[in-house]
Subunit: 211 residues, 2 copies
Amino acid sequence: MGVGGFVRDETPTDEVNQREAVLESLTGTVRELIDATIRTTVDDDEVHRVRDDLDALVARLRTGQLPGPAGIRYNSELRSWNWGNAVMGAANAIAPPLNVVHGPSGCHADVVLGAAYEGPPGLVHGGVSAMLLDHIMGETASGMRRTTFTGTLTTRYRRGTPLGPLRFEAHIAGEERRKVFVAGTISDADGVTVEADGIFIQPAGTPTADG
Amino acid sequence: MGVGGFVRDETPTDEVNQREAVLESLTGTVRELIDATIRTTVDDDEVHRVRDDLDALVARLRTGQLPGPAGIRYNSELRSWNWGNAVMGAANAIAPPLNVVHGPSGCHADVVLGAAYEGPPGLVHGGVSAMLLDHIMGETASGMRRTTFTGTLTTRYRRGTPLGPLRFEAHIAGEERRKVFVAGTISDADGVTVEADGIFIQPAGTPTADG
């Protein structure tokens, strides 16, 4: 029924697109809830009442559910979907989400990070920076045409990254047998805040550029 | 009203503890909602109805709210709280949370990562691993007695980290003027899956071990 955890699912592509839009709509509101939970100043009794009402909504969603994590699915039209992905999943409210754009000389993603991604006051958590860089750099290495896994990721923090609008960029710096070397950055309006180098590995048994 | 984004807030410690417990209770249910949103198979109409009801709950929480991110607060009893922190914040549903235990020879944290932290099918997203390692290693460097920022973090992935119960560990490997060198690992029941080295920096103007 699939290869390496990838599940073949013959839902037609137009139905996949429709369901994705429905889940994205709910997930957008869940992101609002995450932000509102961090920032709310309503009194304790009202917080408890909201929690009780929220419990009921969770129960309604759980009347039918997958037995475990969402995994990655694909149909024979080669539409694939991984709605549970922690960084770009359409149904995962933890994901900002990071929508990676593939260009001729690399990838980029523009994203606005709010209160939910804070570490030091007013700044993006350093771990969040590493998480999002890992993702865009992995997508750059695979180029949506081959499978790669992160081998080593080195992240260097030049200065604090402010919450707000940010640009992530990544490009392939070199290739050597099964290794793909990728460089990436995070920038705010004043320039680069974090830079990273990664080595991504193509699993044995898959084709490489030099055979 | 504070130093470097840290806000002095003279809420008495017992009231801080009480509010933290109230917010933790709501946040636990928000985490359930994140999981249920990823895994739900209820029909589109019901998803839309849940979203509408959820919109109303968000509005109730937003009738009173902080103007921006939560930041870090402290009172004159030196109780500090950062409920919005992306990795361990009591009010942040993105945080698993990672509860770091400080021991004589280092730190550890036991955590169960579910569907919301998935990357490859059934496995923890490599970026999530880096995010959580950054946090525990930073806490190890600071030891809750000094301020440190991540300078460089290098994460090496030995094999896939399965979703489920995991142990994070970190210890100080050395110190040199303003640099604190920290080593960390993630392990499942079969051993280490990810290892990391970090250089954490004490800001100029703060005391160091060797002056």
